[in-house]
Symmetry: none
Subunit: 409 residues, 2 copies
Amino acid sequence: MNAELIAVGTEILLGDIVNTDAQVISQGLSEFGINVFYQTVVGDNPTRLRHVIETARDRADIIITTGGLGPTLDDLTKETLAAVFGQKMALHQPSLDRIRDFFQTIGREMTPNNEKQAWLPAGCTVFTNEWGTAPGCAFEAYGKHVIMLPGPPRECEPMWKACAMPYLSRFAGGCIVSRNIRVFGLGESQMETILHDMMAESKNPTIAPYAKTSECYARVTAKADTHAACERLLEPVVERICGLLGKDVYGVDVDSLEQVVGDGLRQRGMTLAVAESCTGGLLSERITGVPGCSDYYLGGVCSYANEVKINLLGVQKETLDKLGAVSPEVAEQMAAGVARALGADVGVGITGIAGPGGGTKDKPVGLVYISVWHNGRHVTRKMQSTRGRDRVRTQAASTALDLIRRHIL
Amino acid sequence: MNAELIAVGTEILLGDIVNTDAQVISQGLSEFGINVFYQTVVGDNPTRLRHVIETARDRADIIITTGGLGPTLDDLTKETLAAVFGQKMALHQPSLDRIRDFFQTIGREMTPNNEKQAWLPAGCTVFTNEWGTAPGCAFEAYGKHVIMLPGPPRECEPMWKACAMPYLSRFAGGCIVSRNIRVFGLGESQMETILHDMMAESKNPTIAPYAKTSECYARVTAKADTHAACERLLEPVVERICGLLGKDVYGVDVDSLEQVVGDGLRQRGMTLAVAESCTGGLLSERITGVPGCSDYYLGGVCSYANEVKINLLGVQKETLDKLGAVSPEVAEQMAAGVARALGADVGVGITGIAGPGGGTKDKPVGLVYISVWHNGRHVTRKMQSTRGRDRVRTQAASTALDLIRRHIL
């Protein structure tokens, strides 16, 4: 079996957006052992779209399209695929009802062009869109399988995983299972150096290193006839990697550092409060991105102005005047202050210079002090980051979470 | 003139990496007014690569490839392109010398396979690789222009800008200029309904609607001989669209709602503080994502626990007990309370149920109250969102910013 991906959207050809859908879908197909030989991007142009679809029909077993399912005039994917594969279009009443309900719920008028989204190839398998309005669908014709998914990544990715992958699973050749070993505190190349010999030797499971913003992970992938056989192949390899990487591994197949920290706090019945300056609320936002965080998270203060540090957190004016807002002492007073003000067991303080402005020779852009307070004691770290405001903030928030993980939990 | 992009690399087909090179190159071609009709990704397979190149040769004026220029056996791009276009390969001595020097500098032995990178189509224009080892190149044959760039984005992007764009500038067919009209408060389909007749009539400039999380925008694109001529075409159309969409337009060619709100506050010398419950710091994080926000942003309180609402923001316990934390009254007390506690001119309060848990029949998941306080007066809105925690939070934060924009600025 081989599959071909077609992304439909002039915005990709103009360079307005990157075709990230192709990555998500290719990863899934790869897990199924289905080869992808071509990915194509074509604009909202009926002639060229038709040409691309005909080419794919002649060389692929499975055609997966993304985009062009929306309500507007230039959304042509369904009509063109139906024409190439000799399918009639029909109104899918449940989809129309769902779209109507959606507009009613959000209290907006449903314009007539939205009805277009409920017209689908007659008799197709409908993928209900729980993340947006346009449904996806699948049909089979002339021995080929056609799957259509919406273009926006926040709709495409969940529909791919929840609907299209189960639909395609019958074509999977055997079983592929992966484990993601999540790492904070090592760079990708450092991790690769440690794992180099294992990676070179290992054919099944394979080991691949990946980098993410301010962290990295090793993906271990086994192929076998059954899930249990994959597990048996994975277990000793995952164990050995975790042993080699030690404390820098924060979890296997976990969602995120904030999830791991949250679970640890909940287990210990501890509460958390955070005080942020340069991260501006990012740490609080990440902690509260985990459902159920109200079990352990009380809240936070974003003390951007010095007066807020003094009035809400009890940071001493003399410390600010003498050592400056970006200093280990202020980070510590923020951590202890927010724990006191909110009545939390653990307090975090972050102060630094995210840039691009505000740096000096002594205190350059990217300098951040992070302190964690618990039971009257502090753990405080200095961090020097590079590469822009977003990176500095992300790395500082991650480092704070990692300090809690290593030293409190 | 039209161009076609071919990325050569099995790692893209496996979903290991995203084809970001395509975006960078497409943006540059768009600036030159060179149309991109197709982007294709193909693996390191000689037969399929040759097929893709032949297809591109028959329909494009310019072929730009990325990847497959490296030292290993599966790097085939140059050889295959040379074969399709009847070019001989020749050793390019300056490139070989440069690669040798590179290995000497980093103190690593140059393995013999690296010499392969210095073999290029005879007589081509060589693009020296100052960011890696494999040189890029360009040649002309049978009236077609071929450009080869390395695959790694950190090499591809600078070589594209420093070498390939200057090489291609002679083909710039006039000029393309776009304006993005950013909209909050209308869905994409509503916007399209309003602009429908204009979109159908308009050939130059063209008008295209796009959706983003909780907002949308219309992109107006003009083609003409000069930048000034594009501007003359754009001006009346942009003006007419802004007139039709009215107050829902929050800016033209602006970065974001938070940037527009920040600029407005700065101009008026006003300060801002925010109190967040369900958004958990997201609004604060977005406001502080704008460099220079300390001019107007004092800080915020994430009051996840009710005690924090009472102790730090002065929300009345009776109101919480009687009406619940998710109520317009609590949103208003949060807004006024955070403005008072931090000494700000404008205060925002957000309280709601982000989900997935915590919803009831009367107060379902996605219900959020948002209040903006200024000069003793409140503007308060009820919002009912659907589709998951992240969407609820993003839409609530955006709505808060939009309330400030519409009612305070």
